[in-house]
């Protein structure tokens, strides 16, 4: 029987988008059955048009070309700059884009589940999400996770 991977994706930043889609697509390649349960800010990862960002603010571990004090990081445009820099770096190093990894997940049958409660909470419109998303709640996740070999909260 296939191994199972159950992931909760709760982050909606560019750096937070990589682990769920990267591990899910790789797990399928290794023969796993995979479900990702998107909740809270992770729901942003289901939008048709991804506009994910990364911020150095509140993240002192983020490498920057020059040290930028926290007080300066509130300047408009710095988040845009950090995101642009990260995307350029990812491309230079031959890392797949989030869109590319998500497409592979969809094509290879990863089950993408939107948490119904947080969809309602944030008044998200499912029409903005990519096709083929199912919805569910805590019990949906736990039913699958209860039998899973690997479970991750990201």
């Amino acid at each position: 029987m296939a191994k199972k991977l159950a992931i909760i994706a709760s982050k909606g930043t560019l750096d937070g988008a990589y682990p769920p889609f990267l591990l899910a697509s790789t797990a399928v390649a290794l023969g796993f059955e995979v479900k990702i349960f998107f909740t809270f800010y992770g729901l942003q990862l289901l939008n048709k048009n991804l506009n994910l960002k990364v911020s150095p603010l509140g993240n002192p571990a983020m490498p920057m070309p020059v040290p930028v004090p926290s007080i300066v990081q509130i300047i408009p445009g710095l988040e845009w700059f950090a995101t642009w820099m990260m995307k350029r770096k990812l491309k230079q190093k031959g890392v797949a884009s989030v869109e590319e990894l998500r497409d592979i997940c969809v094509e290879t049958g990863v089950d993408l589940i939107a948490c119904q409660m947080t969809v309602d909470l944030f008044d998200f419109d499912k029409a903005d999400f990519i096709d083929g998303i199912s919805s569910g709640g805590a019990a949906t996740y736990l039913e699958f996770a209860g039998d899973a070999d690997v479970t991750l909260y990201i």
């Binding site: 990267l22 697509s25 790789t26 390649a29 290794l30 190093k93 031959g94 890392v95 797949a96």
Partner: protein
């Protein structure tokens, strides 16, 4: 380098793309055919053997030549 049926060059691509592309290539091959996989991602030294073991596609050969990793993977019976 031993005999192979198909070549896949993933030079410049980083984790997990070599594994994902290898899986796709193998899925289009017949049992017993051999894939020559070229990788520059240094993590592949660990990742490709793990992929081979978990998917039942035996790793026949692993060598390093001019900064690139060369793997020969046989398509397994599943």
């Amino acid at each position: 380098m031993s005999y192979f049926d198909k070549e896949l060059d993933t030079s410049g691509l980083n984790c997990p793309l070599p594994v994902l592309k290898a899986r796709k290539a193998l899925s289009e091959m017949a049992i017993g055919e051999k894939l020559h996989l070229i990788v520059t991602d240094p993590g592949a030294n660990q990742d490709i053997p793990a992929f081979s073991k978990m998917t039942g596609n035996p790793l026949i050969e692993a060598t390093e030549k001019e900064g690139k990793l060369h793997f020969i993977i046989e398509k397994g019976a599943e």
